[in-house]
């Protein structure tokens, strides 16, 4: 884990709109946007709802629970800064709220598998706490 914190890797290119998302992430919370008109959850954050183009979007704390839609164990990273921790796993996390995000998947007791239940594990990556995920091992086998 400390190795992840020590990485020299590119962090988020935060913009004005996404400041609340990254501020919450640094505090260990995961935010999504909620559309007041069509009620869908949205991630990554946008200026308008991609489903109905409403501008009435509010921040909401996500449950931090999701499902692994796919994953890859990266042996040759696209950015050389990730070499010290490779191979490592990234995955597509379908949040219980609906949207899918790409995230870092922390090692668990067993190999990752599509369909795994995941939970949020805020993790220091390259000196910033980011919303990583880990297999939720209690019960709920696939």
């Amino acid at each position: 884990m400390s190795e992840l914190a020590d990485l020299k890797v590119p962090g988020p290119t935060e913009i004005e709109l996404t400041k609340p998302f990254w501020k919450a992430a640094a505090e260990g919370r995961l935010l999504v946007q909620r559309c007041e008109d069509c009620t869908k959850a949205i991630l990554y954050p946008r200026e308008i709802c991609p489903h109905c183009w409403s501008e009435k979007l509010t921040w909401e704390q996500a449950s931090g629970l999701g499902r692994l839609k796919s994953f890859s164990r990266v042996h040759k990273p696209g950015h050389p800064g990730w070499m010290p921790v490779s191979p490592y796993v990234v995955g597509l996390v379908e949040l219980d709220e609906g949207p899918t995000m790409l995230s870092h998947i922390l090692p668990g007791e067993c190999e990752p598998a599509v369909g795994d239940r995941l939970e949020l594990k805020p993790t220091n990556i390259g000196g910033r706490v980011l919303p990583a995920f880990q297999r939720k091992d209690q019960g709920e086998n696939v």
Binding site: P10, G11, T13, L102, V114, L130
Partner: protein, 384 residues
């Protein structure tokens, strides 16, 4: 040919190379354009339309003007087509549309890139950079690995199934002296023994980046006839763009090529089963697998059986990427997508030396960009 939307009357390539020294993209575009012009039997001043790709690191803006000036062209229609690997096929129907609209008569469609040691790229400041890169996901390999893993999980497809696609690409590359892997065939075992880059993707399932350039010249069917050109005809086209980052993909196992191919087949009044050549965009083996399934050549999830049931060589029952595909030929950046058009032109007019297919009538050409997110399909037909 009354069904023709446009005629492809010239095509040319620069032999792919791993590295260039002191080349410019502009210079490479000029050389390949001159070859395509000679192939078409035209004079330079016949060109009155120009379609080019983005030229990251060399000409960030005003690309058509820069290329026109360098080539001494004064086109009446000029544009950048920015659809990643779908840019080449995307140029072909745009050229046809511009010609039909009376904007111009003959269009040069050209893509290329140098690979000098220093290759400056412009910085990204967009959602994929902000929300994917910080978690360790940079570059296309990981995106396609995620698509491949999803296919395996949903359908039970195996590493061997995917390796067969790379094996056939390498096998066909042995018939193309220009291919970067000419002289380097690969068995299924070789593919499976190559290093895992991002699981489940092996090195040999991934295109090798090369320098190169590809050009096609498009005119009207009427003009092609007047010129007495060796023409190949555009019979149908389809295009669809759905997302940019893999996390935002509507589906991980079926892509925008599905509706693109449906539209192209409908326009041409043909089906996938009628094709004499499959010239399918192959940045990764998973892309070919998904395209075979999306084309309706087999049922969803059934590409592995399909790969075992056919011979994909030039003399086979199902010629596929007879130039070696990009997996065997090399990927000259955005020009990679145009290699599939250039090969289809050669096959359909009978000029595919050393690898000519029998009775060439119809070809399916696909282009794909980003993360299975930018798609163009073309149906091309021989002059009849």
């Amino acid at each position: 040919m009354t069904r023709s939307k446009a005629a492809l009357i010239g095509a040319a390539s620069l032999k792919p190379v791993r590295q260039t020294e002191g080349e410019t993209t502009l210079g490479m575009l000029a050389r390949v354009s001159a070859r395509a012009l000679a192939d078409a039997g035209l004079e330079k001043d016949a060109i009155d339309g120009l379609l080019v790709g983005p030229q990251v690191g060399e000409t960030p803006q005003h690309v058509p003007a820069t290329v026109s000036e360098y080539l001494g062209l004064q086109p009446a229609m000029a544009n950048v087509v920015d659809l990643g690997g779908a840019s080449g096929p995307g140029m072909i129907w745009r050229a046809a549309a511009a010609i039909s609209a009376g904007m111009c008569e003959t269009v040069l469609c050209v893509l290329g890139n140098h690979r000098n040691a220093e290759a400056p790229r412009s910085p990204n400041r967009n959602p994929i950079r902000e929300f994917d890169v910080p978690f360790g996901a940079s570059g296309a390999n990981i995106s396609y690995a995620l698509l491949m893993q999803a296919h395996m999980a949903k359908y039970g497809s195996t590493a061997e199934d995917f390796a067969l696609i790379a094996h056939w690409a390498r096998a066909n590359a042995q018939r193309n002296p220009n291919a970067i892997f000419h002289g380097k065939p690969a068995s299924v075992e070789d593919v499976l023994n190559s290093p895992i880059i991002a699981s489940p993707l092996h090195l040999y399932e991934i295109v090798m980046p090369v320098a190169g350039a590809e050009a096609v010249i498009v005119t009207s069917a009427k003009r092609a006839k007047e010129l007495g050109s060796r023409a190949v005809h555009l019979l149908g086209a389809g295009e669809k763009v759905t997302h940019r980052a893999v996390s935002q993909a509507p589906s991980l196992t079926s892509g925008p090529l599905k509706p693109s191919m449906e539209r192209a087949f409908a326009q041409a009044g043909v089906t996938a089963q009628d094709m004499s050549l499959l010239s399918l965009y192959d940045c990764y083996t998973i892309m070919v697998a998904a395209t075979i399934e999306d084309a309706g050549l087999c049922e969803p999830g059934g590409f592995g059986r399909f790969m075992r049931a056919h011979d994909f060589g030039p003399e086979g029952d199902m010629p596929l990427n007879t130039h070696g595909g990009q997996i065997g030929y090399g990927q000259p950046d955005l020009a990679g997508g145009m290699t599939h058009v250039v090969e289809a032109v050669h096959q359909l007019r009978g000029s595919a030396e050393g690898r000519q297919i029998n009775n060439p009538r119809l070809a399916l050409v696909t282009g794909n960009g980003a993360t299975m997110s930018e798609a163009v399909a073309l149906v091309l037909g021989a002059d009849e």
